[in-house]
């Protein structure tokens, strides 16, 4: 069970006071959209434990993790970049997900190989990150999330630098992994298209608050609030009646 609940989580960043309330179901794929600087990444960082809430609580699978160290939370987060150590090869980067000191058994190594195969990087374990394309690097990070085997996957725009076709491909991969492992996925994206493509529900974040949450198509189609309408601008859901 890996639901994610944010209950009146307060966080002060410079002169912005944020307060987040959000419920995500176990096994759900939720997208977070909103203008830059609205606090989407901060929200993920609060769930992952990189930022500490001043008040309120973060619950994962019903357990209070508000004061838990990031490495102990049942969470893996992918960033836009710097997901990999450039001086370590691909296999070592994945292996760090099993043991933070890289003390790996033969079975561990086999798991690393299997994870790489699962993300389509079979036999590339000896490469350095600099020898990979941007998409391949994010696949390595996904492979590591597989060996870490944490039920919550937080994606902080990890595919933003990729072209549209490749982004689709990566979202397909994430969805396949989600289905295979019953992951709870939160995706921060600047592309309403991505949300529409992959996320059952979408939350709109504005100035440090979750303003609206709903089924993605309804939220984007209806675009009720003025803030959301301003944010979406000319965006139109294809196939709209």
């Amino acid at each position: 069970m890996a639901s994610v609940d944010l209950d009146s989580v307060i966080f002060q960043y410079e002169d912005m006071r944020m307060q987040f309330d959000l419920q995500v179901q176990d096994g759900e794929f939720l997208a977070l959209i909103g203008p830059s600087g609205a606090g989407k990444s901060t929200l993920l960082a609060l769930i992952a434990g990189f930022e500490r809430a001043e008040a309120g609580s973060v619950l994962i699978g019903g357990r209070d993790v508000t004061h838990q160290h990031p490495s102990l939370r049942p969470v893996t987060m992918l960033f836009q970049d710097h997901n990999l150590f450039a001086h370590l090869d691909v296999a070592a980067n994945v292996g760090l997900g099993i043991h933070p000191g890289l003390k790996l058994t033969a079975a561990d190594r086999a798991r690393v190989e299997a994870a790489l195969e699962q993300v389509g990087l079979k036999d590339l374990g000896r490469r350095l990150p600099s020898q990979l394309s941007g998409g391949e690097r994010q696949r390595v990070a996904l492979a590591r999330s597989l060996v870490r085997d944490r039920p919550v996957l937080l994606l902080d725009e990890p595919f933003a630098a990729l072209g549209p076709a490749l982004r689709r491909e990566m979202l397909d991969l994430v969805r396949a992994l989600q289905a295979a492992r019953n992951l709870t996925v939160l995706l921060v994206s600047h592309q309403p298209d991505d949300a529409l493509y992959a996320a059952g529900r979408t939350a709109f974040v504005h100035r440090g608050h979750v303003l609206q949450v709903g089924p993605t198509r309804d939220l984007l189609d209806g675009a009720t609030g003025p803030e959301l309408r301003d944010y979406l601008g000319e965006f139109q859901v294809k196939g709209r009646a």
């Binding site: 960082a45 992952a48 434990g49 990189f50 160290h69 990031p70 490495s71 102990l72 969470v75 893996t76 987060m77 960033f79 710097h82 997901n83 150590f85 001086h87 370590l88 760090l96 997900g97 933070p100 000191g101 890289l102 870490r148």
Partner: protein, 530 residues
């Protein structure tokens, strides 16, 4: 994570013990001296005026030509021997001061190369070295290359688009200088000039050996004479406090002068300047670079030549030399390691404060503290520690330990400067990832920090060790026959006019210094691998 604050606290403690201890010593003795009379005395005025005057002249003579040299280097990015020239220019930074002085004497002294050339041309040999000219020649030898290296990045930071624009507008060389280079230079010059001025202001070995007598003393040299020959601790304390006050003012003024250069790095590939092909410029640049190279190269060549021509066998057979070599090696390795470890620790803590606790002011304050030694030069620390410790310990017996500690503290600003940016970058890029994967403590050091920082750690260690190997400062104050390091032995031989033996000793010191530097860079930095 309290333990991330511990390394910085330890460094703080080291600084507190050394510099704080020195201050306590100075202030405890200051009560018994008449500061007013001292400050107004003609002696004090002469020393202060000379200290400022020689530093000012040295700065102008170093930084002025450095602009020409850096510009010539920037304008000719591909001339043959450019890399070699830059290497040559990095040598004086590491070269022990006394060895540089030996070289300067061998070139400009009474029977030096310069005078021999003059005699060959039919002129009378001139004795001009000892006094202000000698001080300036030596200061420029050490600081001209430094100033060049400080200024050169200005040109590297000019985006290629600017050169395209200048070419399109048809700018000539003076226009390029006035409209493009000067505005940028003007922002960097105060900082570079400030560093050179500071180094010349607290200059010790050069003024001591080439000053030619008490009339030409900097405050540091006057301090040394008061302590070592006049046994006048009261006078030394007054000079030390005066030195701290002036240095404090200078550093504070310097902080206000230094500004960031607003430049956006470019992704464009390099573009030729519009004034690169003109023949006049080519000739000027070639002359400037040739003269600069000769100025730096000649004393170095003279050290090598007179060292090899000296009584090599006799000097090398002397046990005193090897004892001094041994002491110097120990001092260098321990002081270098201490400086690097203390600096690295301080940076880990300041990074924690900056990135995790959002306390950038505290982080900056901590880093600034490491440069405090600029305000409190080595002989001032020495005087303070002498006053503090002499009632309770035999300071001459623990002289070597004091040399190690003071050299470590002196190396700290360099460590911070070399390690600071990469340590911060490693934190910014990998802090979250390490936290989420639980890579901490020893694992983080071994798997993340060390591979990323190894080269920079090696450079810090090599540089601070090389400085300590060649340092004649505090050892001159506390050294005895039984604790003499190699620089002190060299100084004793120079002072006793055993110039042949000194030449060989100097070559041994230079070899030791560069050898140690190279071994650390290769061994610790892993240059030999991959």
């Amino acid at each position: 994570m309290i333990h991330r604050l511990v390394p910085g606290a330890l460094t703080f403690l080291l600084l507190g013990l050394v510099i704080g201890g020195a201050f306590v010593g100075l202030l405890s003795a200051a009560g018994s001296v008449d500061v007013g009379t001292f400050l107004l005395s003609p002696y004090t005025r002469v020393v202060v005026v000379f200290t400022v005057w020689q530093a000012l002249l040295s700065t102008v003579l170093s930084v002025g030509p450095a602009i020409l040299i850096a510009r010539a280097l920037a304008r000719r990015p591909a001339f043959p021997g450019r890399t070699l020239l830059l290497r040559l220019f990095s040598l004086p930074l590491v070269l022990p001061t006394l060895v540089g002085i030996l070289g300067v004497v061998a070139v400009y002294g009474q029977s030096g190369w310069f005078n021999r050339l003059m005699v060959g041309l039919g002129a009378e040999p001139q004795q001009f070295l000892y006094g202000l000219p000698g001080i300036l020649i030596a200061h420029v030898f050490f600081n001209l290359p430094l100033a060049t290296r400080l200024l050169l990045p200005v040109w590297g930071a000019i985006p290629g688009e600017i050169w395209r624009l200048a070419t399109q507008l048809g700018m000539n060389s003076p226009q390029v200088f006035r409209l493009i280079e000067w505005p940028l230079l003007r922002q960097v010059l105060p900082g570079a000039a400030g560093i050179v001025f500071m180094l010349c202001f607290i200059s010790f070995a050069i003024v001591l050996t080439l000053g030619g007598g008490p009339a030409n003393s900097t405050i540091e040299v006057a301090l040394y004479q008061a302590m070592r020959f006049e046994f006048d601790v009261g006078k030394a304390v007054q000079l030390a406090l005066l030195q701290v006050a002036i240095c404090g003012l200078l550093v504070a003024a310097g902080q206000r002068l230094v500004r960031d250069v607003p430049l956006t790095p470019t992704v464009q590939r390099p573009q030729d300047r519009p004034d690169v092909a003109a023949w006049g410029g080519r000739i000027v640049d070639a002359a400037v670079l040739l003269i600069a190279a000769a100025y730096v190269l000649l004393p170095l060549a003279a050290v090598l030549r007179s060292g090899l021509a000296g009584p090599v066998g006799a000097v090398l057979a002397d046990e005193t030399l090897w004892l001094a070599v041994g002491r110097s090696l120990v001092v260098a390795v321990v002081a270098g390691s201490l400086a690097t470890a203390a600096g690295w620790g301080l940076l880990l803590t300041s990074r924690e404060l900056r990135l995790r606790r959002y306390r950038p002011q505290s982080a900056t304050a901590l880093e600034t503290l490491a440069s405090l030694v600029l305000v409190v030069p080595p002989l001032v620390i020495g005087t303070g520690l002498f006053v503090l410790l002499s009632p309770v310990a035999d300071v001459f017996a623990i002289g070597i330990a004091l040399v190690v500690v003071v050299n470590a503290v002196m190396g700290l600003p360099y460590v911070i400067r070399i390690l600071g940016p990469p340590v911060m970058r490693a934190g910014e890029q990998h802090d979250r990832l390490c936290a989420s994967l639980g890579i901490a403590g020893w694992n983080r050091l071994r798997l993340v920090e060390w591979p990323l920082l190894r080269r920079h750690v090696a450079t810090s260690l090599a540089l601070t060790a090389a400085f300590a190997v060649g340092d004649l400062g505090i050892i001159a104050l506390f050294g005895t026959q039984d604790t003499a390091t190699l620089p002190l032995l060299l100084y004793q031989r120079m002072a006793a006019y055993q110039l042949d033996a000194a030449a060989v000793t100097g070559l041994v010191l230079a070899t030791l210094c560069f050898g140690l530097f190279g071994v650390i860079e290769w061994g610790v930095g892993g240059r030999g691998q991959r």
